[in-house]
């Protein structure tokens, strides 16, 4: 399991008591604003597009700048957009989003040596 999958599994396990959390990196992907967000979050007992509450893009080792075109598209959707980045990249991600007018919320994660994930939503 790569870092992205670990983070997605963590998000599913921690938010499933409050929301219907969908891993959008596997089959039957949903398109939002012409892109494939990594995670879709609906209210409990709903997967209706109109009810979509949050979309997430999980960033890992790659350059943030490479993801900017996707961020820009996803930020145009009338849904709260979370950019999830490693702790060490949170400041860079915010600066990049701010400088390019991307309206998003941020979450930062850390994966320790045992593979345990901790995630902090802003």
């Amino acid at each position: 399991m790569n870092d992205r999958q670990k983070v997605i599994q963590y998000i599913i396990s921690t938010l499933s008591n409050r929301f219907n959390v969908v891993d959008n990196t596997i089959a039957d992907k949903k398109i939002v604003a012409g892109q494939f967000p990594d995670v879709l979050i609906f209210p409990k007992n709903s997967t209706a597009d109109r009810d979509l509450l949050f979309i997430m893009k999980i960033e890992n080792g790659g350059e943030l700048i490479d993801s900017l075109p996707q961020w820009k598209e996803l930020a145009t959707a009338p849904i709260t957009f979370y950019i999830v980045v490693p702790n060490v990249k949170i400041d860079d991600a915010k600066k990049l989003a701010n400088a390019t007018g991307v309206k998003a919320k941020f979450a930062s994660y850390q994966i320790d040596n045992q593979g345990s994930v901790t995630l902090n939503y802003e």
Binding site: L15, I41, P43, R50, D51, L52, L53, F54, A75, P78, I79, T80, F81, Y82, K103, A104, K105, A107, Y121, E122
Partner: protein, 171 residues
């Protein structure tokens, strides 16, 4: 018949023949002017009626969306972003009718309408990108509550203005 008598005879003949024509002309011009005034007044009244209906419909739509937003908030403590998007599409009537709002004679009501839409659009702009949070912190929850409360207050204002517009005495 002397000269004076013949002059009087001529004048009499002129008056008896021309007076109805002159009087008719005056009445026709006056009548035309009154007709124009009445027509313009009628058109303004129709336009005012349309403004009241269209703005009233938009305000009712705003009120309804905010009410649904409030219900989902009560159930989940989440402001659904889709409602912000729905509300954003409910300012077009005001924008289109803005130059004709002077037809509403009640100056206070005109001010109230403009002030309402100003606050409404400010809150929409502020909410874009901030509505909805997964953070469980007090600050994050407070921020969401503030957004919800702001819209709830505007929902009450929208209803008040809509009710005023629907009164037949408003002209």
């Amino acid at each position: 018949m002397n000269d004076a008598t013949s002059t009087i005879t001529i004048i009499n003949a002129f008056i008896s023949g021309a007076a109805p024509v002159v009087l008719g002309s005056v009445l026709a011009i006056g009548g035309g002017w009154i007709g124009d005034v009445l027509r313009a007044w009628g058109e303004r009244q129709r336009e005012l009626k349309d403004i009241k209906i269209v703005l009233g419909d938009e305000l009712e739509s705003i009120e309804t969306i905010i009410e649904i937003m409030h219900q989902t908030w009560t159930a989940s403590n989440i402001v659904y972003p889709v409602y912000i998007s729905d509300l954003s599409s409910n300012t077009a009537s005001f924008e289109n009718l803005r130059p004709r709002l002077f037809l509403i004679k009640d100056e206070n009501l005109r001010r109230e309408i403009s002030a309402f839409y100003k606050k409404f659009k400010d809150l929409l702009n502020k909410s874009e990108g901030t509505v909805g949070t997964l953070a469980e912190t007090t600050a994050a929850k407070e921020e969401q509550k503030k957004i919800h409360d702001g819209f709830e207050k505007l929902g009450v204002e929208a209803k008040g203005i809509k009710d005023k517009l629907s009164k037949p005495t408003i002209s």
